[in-house]
Structures are given as C-alpha cells and as structure tokens.
Subunit: 474 residues, 4 copies
C-alpha cells in the first residue's frame, strides 16, 4: 500500500542429525522472514530420504494451516521460502521451493535473487529440449545443476560447476535427500547466514533474525562465492568461487532487512541509526523535533536526533490491522487512505518545525500525503531528510523497484523540483559517499547501482524484466 | 465413499474463429465431465496467442470462482481438464492442463490415460538433463513433443513423431498459441470425440455429454491413432498411427461414462440396458422385483426387468447432499454410513424376492451392507446380478481399480464363496462373452484386461504404479 | 435453479438416557432432512442441563465443520433444524434452533410451519415490551411459551396453553434442560414422527428418513394437536388439542418429502407411484414411452407406466455436481442452462411419442425448456401429465410457492393455453378428486388450498408475507 | 498472546443529511477502533428508514468482505461496533450492534461498558416475560428502553428514563429509523466523542482516532451523563443525568486507547510520555539506556528518557505478521514464543544497564521472558519501571483483567518478591498519586479501582462475571 519497492525472497534451510518436528522450526523462521516476501510461501521437508512439500499463495499464516503442516511435520532436513512476485496468472507454478526429480533422485531449491543471464540460460536449455513451467530463473539454475549432476561426482560438485554458468544475484538453499547445500553468488548481492540450532544442527537463512526465531546461535555470514554443504559429516565449505570485488546490496540495510538482523557484520538497526546521523551531519537544519515515518524511518530519525540534538519524538500511529484484505473505498474516501493507515499525533506536531525522515522516496506520492498530514496538524515547517540517495536506475539483482519512468527522481529535473512537488520546506538526501559508511563494521563492497547506475556485473541487454506471460510467442 | 475404482481424467478443448467468453464454455464442459475426475480441475485459455491458466485442487465448483474465471474469460481457444488422483502431498504440481514454455514458444497439454513406458521415457529424458516437477507421465509426453519439436516443422509433426515413442493409453488435447491438437493412442483405450460449437467452432472432448452441455453438435469419434489439428484453416486429420487392433475400455460403458454420452457409436445408457438384458438371459431367476443400486446400477436393472418381465421398481433413495465435506462419525455410528447415503424404500421390499443389480463388485463390503439393508427391510431373497465380470487384474490404462489383493474376486476362491461373503441368496456375473456384445453399434475391439488379464499391449515390468513420492531416492 | 416452490423447514430432536456423542446423530438426521431446507442449519445440545449451540448459513456440510461439531459433541439431548428462507439481510438472526434464557431457565426451539396470526401475536407481545431480533414467527411462539411458563407448573403446561393462542401450521421441537417436547398444530399441516433410537432413546423428526439415518425404529406419527414430552420418565402424550378436521399438506407427498419417508401411514414413494397410476386412468394417451423429470417426477412416471402399460424408460441424466456455487454464464450460454443440469438420452427419445411426467408446474418456464430438449432430441409427440393440479393460490402454512401472479395457471386462462405456452402435444393435470386418493393408507384429511383456495383455517388479512426488513417503520 | 487484559468494545455512529456510501465510512472507523475489540464486528445501516445489518465473528477484515459490505453500502445513518469477548459457544448471538423490532419500530444499539446491575435487570425483565438470546447486558438496556418507549413521547425520552435504571459503565450509540442517539453513563467510565464529518454530518465514537480516520473534525467529548440526539434537526444535548463525581478509566490512557486519540482533553500519547516522566522522577536509576516494550511501552520509555536524560533507544523488533492464525508449536519450541513475536536488538543491549518500560504487569510471565531475552543479549542490569500501579482488583466497568488470583501482585507479597520472580535488577511501579497527574489537561475524575479497590459505584454482589453458558439452569 505504501511502497512500490520490494525484496523478492527469503530462504532458509535447517539440518538436524536426527528426525524432529523440523517443520515447526521452518515455520517459525518463515514467520521471521515474512517481510522479505508476502506473496507466497513453501516448505520442503526430507524424512528418511523422502522429500515432501507444501506451498501456496499468500502469507505464511494463510498457506500453512495446522492440519497441512502436520502432514509434513517430521524430518531431519527442511528448506523454506517466502516470495514476493508481481501478481500474475501463472504464479502457482512459481512458488518455491521447487521440488524436482532428476536422473540422480530428488532435489529441492529455494532462491533469493535474480540471474542476469536467465534468458540466455533458458534458451540454451530449451535448445536441449528443456521445458519451463514458470517464469522463474530458478528453473534455469535447476537445469544447470541437473545437467552438471550427470557428469559430477556429487551434488555439491554439480553446484560448483553450475556457478560458472549462472550470473547475477543468488543466495540459494538446496536440499538433496542427504544434504543441505547453501550457495551465494561471488558478488554477495543478497545476504545468507549460517547458524547453529539449539539441538546441535545447522541453519542457513537470509537473515539472522530467522536464527533468533528458533533460539539458535549465529555462526557467520556465508561468504560471497562460498558453497556450504551440510550433511551427517557436518559442515563443509567450498571456496572456489571467491571474489574480491563483492557488492552487497546496501538497500538491505536501509529498508529490506529487519532491524534486528546482523548482515555482513553490521546490525541493520545500527546502520539505520548511523544513516540518520550522517544525514544530520551533511544536511543539518534548525528545527524543533525529529520524527520518522513508521516503521522503516524510525531508526534513522533516532540517529538524526542524536547527531543534531533536536529532540526525537513520535509523529505517527500506524494502524497495524490494515492488511491485505482491506477493502479500498470509493474515490471520495480514498484520499483519506494515508490517515487510515497512518495518523498524526497532532499534539506533538502543532506549531512545530519538523524534521521528517523516511527511508526513501519512490514515486513521491506517499511522502506528499504525509507532509500534507503534518501541515494539516499544524506543522510550521517540514524538512524532509532521506537516508538513501534518489532512486534512478532499475535493479537486476532480486528486488523490484518501480519502473524507471515512475521514479520521482527521474520525473523531476532537480531536488528542488522534487521538494516543490512533495510540498516540503526543504529536502535533502544522503550522499552516496556517506551511504557507503553506514555499515560501520562491514568489510564488504556495496552495490548502489539503483542510485548510481554503476552495475557491478553486466546487465541483461534486454532491459525488460523477464515475465513469462508477456513473452509467450507463437 | 462407495467405490474404490476411479476414472482418472476428462479432457476438453474448444476452438473458435474469433475471441469469445470461451472460458464460460469450457467451464460448462468441465461440469459435464466432472464424473471423470473430482480431485482437481484446470483451464488454459489462449487469447491473441497468449496462454493463461487457472487450476487447483477440488471440484470444478471449488476451483473456479467467478472472479478467478473472469480473469481468463476471453480467448479463441481453451483446453480444460478434470482429474482424479490418489491424494498425495505433491499433487498441486500434477494438476493439468500443464502449461509450459519450450524452444518454440508455449504449449498446454491435457491428458487422459496412462503411459505404459512412462518409467523408461522418464529415465531417457533424465539422462538428457530433464527435470520432473510432478509424478505424472504427462510430463514425459511433453518432453517427447518438445524434443521432437526442435527438429519438426510443426507442432503436429512433433506430436506425430512423439506417438512413435509413447506407449499405452492417451487421449490428449494440446494447445499451441495457434492450434488445438487432439490425439488418441492407436488402441483407443479412452474415448475422444469431435463436435461443432453453436458458433461454428470445434470442440474435442472425452465424452459427448460435454458437447451437449454447450448446445454443440457431435461430429464423430476421433479414431484410434488419429491426430486432429484445429486451426484457422479448419480441421485436419492425420492418420499415420492407425491400427486395426484397437481396444476400447469396456468399463467406460459399465461405469465410467455418463449414460447420456455416445461412445464409439453406442449410447452408454443403451449399453447398460443391454448388459442387464443379456445378464437376465444368462442368469435368470424367479423373483418379484428388480432394483438397481443408484446411480450406475439403475439402467442395467431396467434391462434385466425388460428381458425377465420381472417388474422394475425403486429400491433406494440416495442422499444427494452427502458430499466430500461429510464428517465421518464415531465408530458406533459408522456402520450406518450406508443408510445415510442410501436408504431403502421399505414398502417396496418387504416380503419380496429381490433381484439386485450393481455395476460391479470391487471389495464386496458395500454390496454386503446393501444386501443387509434389504434383508432388514424384509426382503425374503436377494439375488445379486452383476453386469460386469469379476475384477481380477490391475488396469494400466488410466483407471485406478483397487489393488489386486483387495479385490474380492481374488480373495475368494469361487463365486459361491463371494456369494456367501456378501450374504446374497444367489450371485451371478455377466460372462465376458455377453459383455462384448453390450455395445450394439460399436465396431471397435475392447480391452477387458481387468477381467481377463489379457492385456492388449505390453505392460510395465515394474508392476508397481509409478508414484512420485514413493520413488524418491537418495 | 429449477423450482420456485420451497419447503421451509425440517426439525429433529433426540433424547437419550445417558450422555453420548449425540451431536453426531443429529448431524446425520439433518443430512437426511437437508431437502427440507438448504439455507441454514443449527444444532442445540444439552449436556448436564447446559445448552450449547452451533448454527450458520448454508448447507449442513457448510455449517458444521469437524472442529465446530466437536465442541458440542456430547449430551443426552439435542435438537436440530434446517431452514429455507428467502435470502434477506437479517437472516443470521433467524437461524434456528433459537436458544433463549427466560425466567425459569433456558429453552431451545425448532419450528417447521408458519403461524397465521404471527402479526397479531407480535403486536400483543410488543405492547408488553417484547423485542424481536428476527422476522420469524418462532419468536412469537417463544414469547407465548415464556409468558405462560411464569404461571404454569411445567414447560409442557406452558406449551399446552400456548397452543390455544397460536394459529396456523407448526410442527415444533422444544428442549428445556430436562425435556424434549414435540408439538404439532391441531390441523397437522406438517409431518412429525416419533421413533426409537438404537440405544433405547427417542427421536422426533419431520420425516421418517431421519429415523432411518441413525438406524432407529419408527414408532408412530405424532398426532395433530398432540404434545409429546420426553424425559427421564419416558414418553408422555398430551392430547388436549386434538381435532377431528385435520388437513395434512398433500404436496408433502408430491414433492417436498423424501420418497423413502412414510407420512401419515403412507410411503411417499408409493403415493407418487399411485398419483401416476391415477393420472394414467384419468388422462390416458397413446404413446411409446413414459419418462419422468428427475428426481421428483420419476416415481409418478413409473406409476403411469404400470397403469398404462406404456414402457417406462430413462429420459434424462441429471448432473449431480451442479450446486449452489455454480457460476451463471453470460446471456448467450444461459439458454443452455437446462441441458447443463439435465441432458436428454437421445437414443431413447428419437422418433418416439413421449409421455412426460413432472411433479408440478409453477411458472412453466422450466417444463417449456425440457419439452424443447425432447423435441430437439427427436421426440415426435410430448404428452405432459402432471400428478398435481394447477397451482393457483398462496400457501400460508410453511411453504413458499411462487407469487400468485407468476403462477402459469393464473396467467393462462385455460389448460389449453398452458399447453400452447409450454409447447406440449397434450397436457393434463390430475384432478383434486384423484389427488385425495394417492395416500392409500392415510386416514387424515388434506390441505389442498394451493390448488383449490379452500383454506382449512382462516388466513391472515394482510395477504403480504411478513418480512422483517420490509416492515421497518419510523 | 501477550496480555490478559482486554478492552471490551468500541462504538461508532455516523449521521449524514443525505444518502451516501456511509458504510465505507463506518468500515474505516471500525478499522481505527479495531484495537478496542478483535473478536467480532458489526454494522447497522439505515437507508430511508429501513435498517439493515451485517455482522460476524473475527476482525473487521474477516467479517466485512466487499460483496457483503456492498449489500448495505448506502444510507444516511449507520452505527458500528467492535467487540472483545471471551470465546464462548453462544457468541454469534452477542455480536453487536443488536438490531431489534419493538412496538414503535426498529432500534439498533451498540454498547461499550458493563452494567453492574445486569442480573437484577434481567430478572425483572424475565418476570415480565422477556427472553434473552445472548449473555450480554446490552439486551437488558434494550428491554429498558423498549418498555420506557411504550410510555415515552420519543426515543430520547425513553433513553433518558432508562438511564435512571441502568447502573455501571455504558457508552452507547443507538439508532432509530430517524435519529442517532449517543449516551454515556454519569460516571463517564468509557470515552465517547463527538465530531463533524467532512460532508457536514456528525460522528460519535469511542475515540477521536475514528474521527481522524474519515478526515472528520473533533468537536468535543460527550459529557458523563449526557444524551446526544442527532437528527435532521441537528444535534441536541440532554443533560439531566449530569454528575459531578465522574470517574474516567485511567487505564484508557495507559494501555487501551490509541496514542493518537485525545480523551477528556488529553492526548493519550502525551499522557503516556508524562507517565514515563513522573516515573523517572519517582524511581530514578543509574543506567545506560531506556527501552520500551512495543508498542504500548514505547511512549512511556520516551518520557522516562526525557526526564532522566538516559538515552532512549530501540530494544526490540516486533514481528507484525504474527496474528491470530499463528500455529502454536510443540512444547520444545514454545519457550521461544516470545522471541518469535519480539526479538532483541542485541547490539543495543550488550553490556548495557537497561531501564525497561512496560505499560503494566498482569501475570508476570511475559515480562519475565522479556527480561530473560535482555539478559541473554548481554544486558548487565535490567531495571523494570512500570507506569501503572500493581493490578489487584477486578474491573466491573467494561474491561477484562485477569482473574484476581492470577494477578502477580496478589500472588507475591511484595514488590521485592515480584522483582525476584521476574528476574529484574530492580522494579518500580508508578504511584497512584503520580498516575492521577498523567492526563495533564483532563478535568475529570478517574477510576483507579483495579489498582486501589475503591470502586466509584457499588459493584455486583455476585462477584462472578455473568456468563450465559455457565448460568443455564434447569
């Protein structure tokens, strides 16, 4: 309802050394990763070498009812997936994990990211007689693995060879009847963490908050280009795809990830606070209060307050009951949509010069309405400060930012114009220079291509996003 | 609830020469074919060369809600499928039509039947890197078509070549972005009919009742081994796979098909009446009334009455509201299950010598309960007459008869023993000799392998049914 | 979809001498009575003097899911209700049984019928401060009982006194924390039967098919004007309201009741066969076959065949999967609606002179379509014979016949005109004189007011049906 | 999942001077009031004097689907209700608004609060023949109004007279076919506000956030004992029940109400900040950071920080996707329930002396787990500060606090003992003296009976809560 920018997936895998109600654990971790994808969810469980699955469209709570979960309750391994996808007609075929049978048996795969050579891979595979059931590049990864597996000695060797062929962003968790294998692209675009479960097993997942959700213990990030193999022999690392020039998505800190997660060594919450602090240094302003747009603007607002000494306060109450089943009203009332979801605490705003922090501006329509709410509540000035630079370029690495022509930063010629459009007293974005510094403890490089247009790897020549339905030819 | 014998699928395809609300028509035909498969349903529609689909688990009424149907309402071509399948965990992946993308574009396929070389085909394809999402042999057909399509000049040529490779039973409807292609195995195990729609288009479907449901006109049966190609150029027939020794499933007449359908030139209703007539000739009995077990035993009961001159009457009322959501009661009441679904009209039965006709006996438990009901209602004698021979052998051609060891005809040494087990006064089955004659106008040969064990084509060496979940290896 | 004539309710009560999973039994009986009301269903259970309930809109299968039923599984008494009601906005408040608290404790009530003095009773009660939650006259019965109960020594005495005040049709089952009390209006408009359960308890219900559904034993009809009290002391009969001029609804035999029920001593099936027989005597015709419109015309068709010696055969196959969730198609296809639900067995009809039996004609539109189907199938003549006289007058006693002005018998001046409108070769209705004789063993009088306009009791002066929503005033 | 203390209802009414899609507006306001009751929701709409309704169990989003809402879309008046209720079997009968018919027409009523003389009123009414469908005291109010209405000149006069008879807490909105009447008990236990809609109509509602949700304008609180009549003649106030000793529930500020609401002149948010400030004054502590338990502890934490100068920071991330359909896991994982719903931001906590603010302590089990989470995250000290006094006494005025014997303050002899039980380094509650001062601008008196045991009105002698199901007698 608010953002037209979306993370596309969350993945998780758990390995235990004996049979357990492992699906309960996966269910918990998917609840913890729900923010990474709200369109579909799936679980594949392996019990005594047999892989079973449940999946469907909707939130984790919609897809997994008790009786369905109970059918796949037990196992020693399981993987899970949550997904955001543009609502298409075909989408049940795209819900992950994909569980397939190939020459050597079964394989389940969950993928976060986007391949940049998906089209080429699909064409190559199709020339060999491959058939694709969905639009997802995940099927291309599977075909590569399966073709390599024919020659390779093990599933991990097949995956290692596959990684020479697939380009772009992928943080994957695969499950064969005996192993869980996690692998991350050499750039390390998307996060992937390794942890220990309470009972001595292992967990791999997109974010550390999933480890916390089952009371587990964080071990370390899986490295860019690393393959982690978990089996009855324990954990093995394969590092042949290591790469010095990695490029972690910096927007994971700003918006996608949960504040309680630790990515590449830095707390997401801390990175957000730091972004606010740096923003205050770069773009100070004389004002009475600092407020954030809930929920993702709050931490940066706190940072701005700390640095600027302008008091932090609460500007809004968010209605937590407005969900996806909310019924859109007639035109007349639709203008009020923002204050149904977000209401101003007028007492705090009236007569005040306000610094307003939101994580980013996409189309500019939402922030415009929010500024209006503040003015209606009596704010004398509204200084907008954004802890991310203006969006200008598409992302090819697993997120869905609004189309280029809808981005306010592309529609307006200057920051001044954007300021006028949204009705702010003043407007400042963080510089890319400061942005780079928000993840204080992280040693990795960053991808900031959506702000700079400098892509760390080559991008698809066909700039259109690859959508199954639209590509169907005669 | 009553039978452990199941047809596995119904298929349909409609081609029109212009865009129409074609999905409404397909929806009607699937309602008409619902008796052929109640576990899942799907529709794929082609509008201006773009194929969209909707599918799901459950009855046609469960799967297709108005708003979902409306999303795919219009097109000039559409195919549909209803399916029975053993309830497995993976089954969403098996719901048809399968819509896939391959090197030359898109293809949708709906299949009724079972391949006998599905395992071999899967292994061959897997050796070339194929991946299988479901358990269904339909994916094997698709891989064959797609591999042939690389070399072939047209989709119909690819299908023609495919038919040299696939063995067993298949009545299929495929849809490419420009054509609907229907093809039937050379034995003609399962029915497949061609008709004309009211608006001058064409329909192919499992049974003629689907043609009636949209007010269409029956043209003719599609021949065993025939390929029918429907495009803007009209209807084309390819007959390279013709075969003299065809073997239509005789149980379609006895139980599977709808009485108002005409298969291979013979009305199903008439064939059932005839089966009763022949049964009366073979196994007459001195009795007061003839009754049938609803619904499939009624027509044969009428035939028995006509031949024997024993008055036909109504023995039972069936509760039409007992559906799949019926809640099974505690043990104590479960014994009453039959008379919740089926109640005796006592006034007609009391003191009477009854001839009872049921289409077939599988495990014998249901007929035993029904005989008990009649005795409780005061029947002095219950003479059971069955218009099909005893089931003794598995079917490999698209139906699911109970496992060999559960069949009462295999458990009991003789008809006498079965009679005693079910508590009948006398018991007679139709002879295979008479059975052959029930379809008076049909020119085709018949498959009666489930009764005789004489299979018209070689059967799988691995006698186990091929189920995905059970085959998963390490 | 077919008839615009509706029974309005079915009721049931079970008394056991100890705690049991009694709700399972009630659930079974409501399944058996489902044909008497498909709009809502409810169960009230009494366990150790505490009354609990579950109810909702829809079929028994929709309303009662396993987990809900299990919450009220046990008790020594329970009553149930199925209801047809014109779809209104308020209807959840009308779903029965009504469970209320009054000065002496709790009371549950299920009612089949319609009071003719509901308006007067409501006004009287309202003058004393009563409030009505629903439109149903059942609340008026409750207010009368409750007001009488203040003075009376027992609940049965209160009911006895209430019966002096309420007029019209009522077959009721009430449950106090210690007793089940069934009572029937002095005219005996609606059926009500008494039976024994397998475990030695008692059952009262609208039709005997409900007794059969739990394997019980029919004892006798509850008499017009009788009150039956079932408690730990056994069964007691109170006969102070006996009346010689009773008037059982004859349409229960023709259409409403299930053929396997026995009402007033006569099998419904037998009465239907007899109606066909008498019709054949009154209105013979030279023809080749007799067919019935499923399901309610089949028995009369058999009777017509027996009397006329014209062979009985099957004319139609009814699609049993077309339910309430069926999606109505666009106009173009809507004309085909009849042959989606009902398809002709053409082989039986082609070139034949057909006698077509349907239970009744309401608006004439359906029979017109059916005759068309037969002609399209090649019938040379279609002689329509109806085992009930023409509908001309409204019913005030618990059924919902189409409004007077829509009745074809009122729109057309003569039988001849109706014949022309529906396109029959000839048309004949049974005479009221013959109709009276169909229930061979019944000793009771009959209400035939919908055919004759001769009402056995005075009817409401305000001829409008009493609907809550439409009556709301300022 | 977290609190065993519940507000019992939210009410709203809107009056417009012409027909509008008024249900959309009510739907919005119920979304805004959802926090006041999550068990059921209902809307009654009046269009041209006719009252229609929709209601059901569940959240507003569950109960109102688009097609249902559209059935009652238009009207010039509407009232709505959200309700919390202990899950009982009878509850569909208790869902409000209640819409009834009485001698003078129709009436709809929505009630927030609890009568203290509900039992007496019910008995009196029952002696006159009243029947009760639900457990709710709201039916008693209706009976009083309806009985008074017989004698009174107007509905408002009937309500005025009723207010002499009903005791306890009630903030009600009634709707007759021409008027909306809001009335509040003389003590003013529960809030009730008056506002103007954008189109010049009027709104009455439990909290001002509902006015904001439709872009309306707050006018003023409805006074304790006041009756507000809204009709085509505008707004009329009746003040005969005014009372000097009013007693507004102080826990509305602490927990129940939304922070963006203004109750009795004071912003809820401000009152919470003030409570933290006063708590810091009373119970200072040497610490490194102040954190609040989301969401209701955050504002007080900010206040504590402001007063104490100890930095405010974020301690927890709350998983907003964990809803009522969350599946409870096996025992082993259940201990982790708190960190699935609430996860610690470890980076902020490690090595820190923490001041932890939660709005209140009921059983003590949740705070104990939260303290454990903090310790596990490395907190060196955890000083718990609670901006409400210990709960010790039941509430009879419309909220549901845990039963007396489960309250930790009653189980432990001293604050010290509670501190030890929950594992805090130190523990302090706000004093009642300070509590009184949190609502800076409010002129009203307060009810603090749950803390002090001093009830502002006499309480029921039968201390048991009145539950329908449990009271059913013979």
């Amino acid at each position: 309802m608010f953002k037209s920018i979306h993370e596309e997936c969350g993945v998780v895998g758990i390995f235990e050394f004996e049979n357990k109600p492992i699906t309960d654990s996966i269910y918990f971790t998917l609840q913890a990763l729900q923010h990474r994808g709200q369109e579909s969810a799936g679980i594949a469980v392996c019990e005594s070498g047999v892989i079973k699955q449940q999946k469907g469209l909707g939130l984790v709570n919609d897809v997994f009812k008790k009786e369905k979960l109970d059918e796949i309750k037990y196992g020693n391994m399981a993987i899970g997936h949550v997904r955001y996808s543009t609502t298409g007609l075909n989408n049940i075929n795209n819900v992950q994990p994909l569980v397939i049978r190939h020459i050597k048996g079964n394989l389940a795969l969950a993928h976060n990211g986007n391949l940049t050579n998906a089209n080429e891979l699909r064409q190559i595979n199709e020339m060999h007689g491959a058939i694709f059931h969905g639009s997802s590049d995940t099927e291309s990864i599977l075909y590569c693995i399966v073709r390599e597996r024919i020659k390779a000695k093990s599933i991990e060797e097949a995956i290692e060879n596959t990684m020479y062929k697939i380009k772009g962003a992928y943080s994957c968790v695969a499950m064969s009847p005996k192993k869980i294998i996690a692998f991350r692209d050499p750039n390390g675009f998307r996060p992937l963490s390794l942890g220990k479960t309470k009972s001595g097993g292992y967990i791999v997942c997109s974010e550390t908050c999933a480890i916390d959700s089952i009371g587990g213990e964080f071990i370390r990030d899986i490295l860019p280009g690393e393959i982690i193999v978990i089996s009855d022999d324990g954990v093995k690392s394969i590092l042949t795809h290591q790469n010095k020039k990695n490029s972690f998505c910096i927007f994971e800190y700003i918006y996608f990830a949960r504040p309680d997660s630790i990515l590449e060594g830095t707390s997401v919450h801390k990175a957000r606070v730091e972004s606010g602090r740096l923003l205050a240094k770069e773009s100070p302003v004389d004002a009475d209060i600092v407020i954030g747009v809930p929920d993702s603007g709050l931490d940066a607002a706190l940072g701005y307050s700390i640095e600027s000494k302008i008091p932090y306060t609460v500007g809004f109450v968010k209605n937590k009951y407005i969900g996806r089943s909310f019924i859109m009203p007639e035109q007349e009332l639709r203008e009020n949509m923002v204050n149904i979801k977000l209401n101003v605490i007028k007492e705090n705003i009236k007569g005040k010069r306000v610094v307003l922090i939101d994580d980013s501006i996409v189309r500019g329509t939402t922030i415009k309405k929010i500024i209006n709410l503040l003015k209606d509540a009596g704010a004398s000035e509204v200084h907008v400060r954004i802890p991310s630079p203006p969006f200008r370029y598409p992302c090819y690495f697993g997120t869905d930012i609004d189309s280029k022509e809808h981005l306010i930063a592309n529609k307006c010629g200057s920051i001044e114009e954007i300021k006028d459009y949204i009705g702010a007293t003043s407007l400042a974005y963080i510089s890319t220079n400061s942005l780079k510094k928000i993840a204080i403890n992280s040693k990795c490089g960053f991808c900031m291509a959506c702000f700079t247009g400098k892509y760390p790897v080559s991008i698809p020549t066909n700039t259109e996003k690859n959508k199954f339905e639209e590509k169907i030819t005669r």
